[in-house]
């Protein structure tokens, strides 16, 4: 029997890239970027425990995304080795359980002056800076796709989605951004 060699393929490899819609104008157009498939750790607090977000961040070492009561994601651009993951789990022992979902979730970034108006086509969550400041994260629907939206900057958001939906969301975001012009940059 032939030996099967598994090779890693980025979820967004082969997606549509380039410029779409209205003529690109850096003052209003959007940029959609595939983020590196680094790590996504799902943290679940022990029942009854109310872990301090600061303590979680310190132990997790990455960037925290609030997911649900007692649940967070720690995300980052670097791939973690098994020993690095075990170390994080060790630091969080008794506080939260750590489940590695790096293989299952894909992140992309959408930025530009009209980014809130584009995302508002997909979700009714109030994304105004006053209600949704930098660092705020929300699990919601964009169309029919479940997405974790995080504001990473004044005019930039990160969208995290289950791997199988990554390409659909990518195409949907390009469609939503066409009226302002959008440049899509695929995985490196």
């Amino acid at each position: 029997m032939a030996e099967i060699v598994l090779s890693h393929r980025a979820a967004l490899a082969g997606v549509a890239t380039g410029r779409f819609g209205a003529a690109f104008d850096s003052s209003r157009s959007l940029t959609l970027t595939a983020l590196p498939e680094g790590h996504v750790l799902h943290l679940l607090a022990a029942p009854g425990a109310v872990p301090h977000a600061g303590a979680i961040t310190a132990a997790g070492g990455g960037t925290l995304r609030a997911y649900a009561p007692g649940q967070w994601f720690v995300v980052g651009d670097e791939r973690l080795t098994a020993s690095q993951k075990a170390e994080i789990a060790g630091r969080l022992a008794g506080v939260a359980d750590v489940v590695d979902t790096s293989h299952g979730r894909v992140r992309m970034a959408l930025s530009g002056a009209a980014v809130e108006r584009v995302l508002a086509k997909g979700t009714a969550v109030d994304l105004a800076p006053s209600a949704f400041p930098v660092g705020r994260s929300a699990t919601t629907l964009v169309g029919h796709i479940s997405v974790q939206i995080t504001r990473t900057g004044e005019q930039s958001f990160e969208l995290m989605v289950l791997r199988g939906f990554a390409e659909s969301l990518w195409d949907e975001l390009i469609g939503m951004a066409r009226e302002f012009g959008v440049e899509a940059v695929g995985p490196a």
Partner: protein
């Protein structure tokens, strides 16, 4: 139906993120209750106009079960609480 439900964990969210399960005001009968009682519990509903207490699941959000109190006539949402808290409060009462 109100189009925004204020989830106690997530804030105001569109109703599309939720799925409605059932009446939250029912009390499960004892296991050995007679067939008539069970039939009433499982099947019989008044479907009245006005205030309703229901279990809602924030399926596309925090995935918590909530108890939503709303009015089917005026569309006013009176309260939204986490189902676990609602049960605790009822248990204490």
């Amino acid at each position: 139906m109100a189009s925004l439900i204020t989830c106690p964990h997530c804030g105001p969210r569109p109703k599309e993120e939720f799925s409605i399960r059932s009446d939250a005001s029912l009390t499960r009968p004892a296991p050995d209750a007679d067939a008539e009682t069970w039939h009433a519990y499982v099947y019989l509903r008044d479907n009245s106009r006005g205030r309703h207490r229901e279990y809602w699941h924030h399926a596309a959000g925090c995935r918590r079960w909530l108890v939503v109190e709303r009015d089917t006539q005026t569309h006013v949402v009176h309260s939204v609480t986490d189902a676990a808290d609602a049960t605790r409060t009822r248990g204490a009462a």
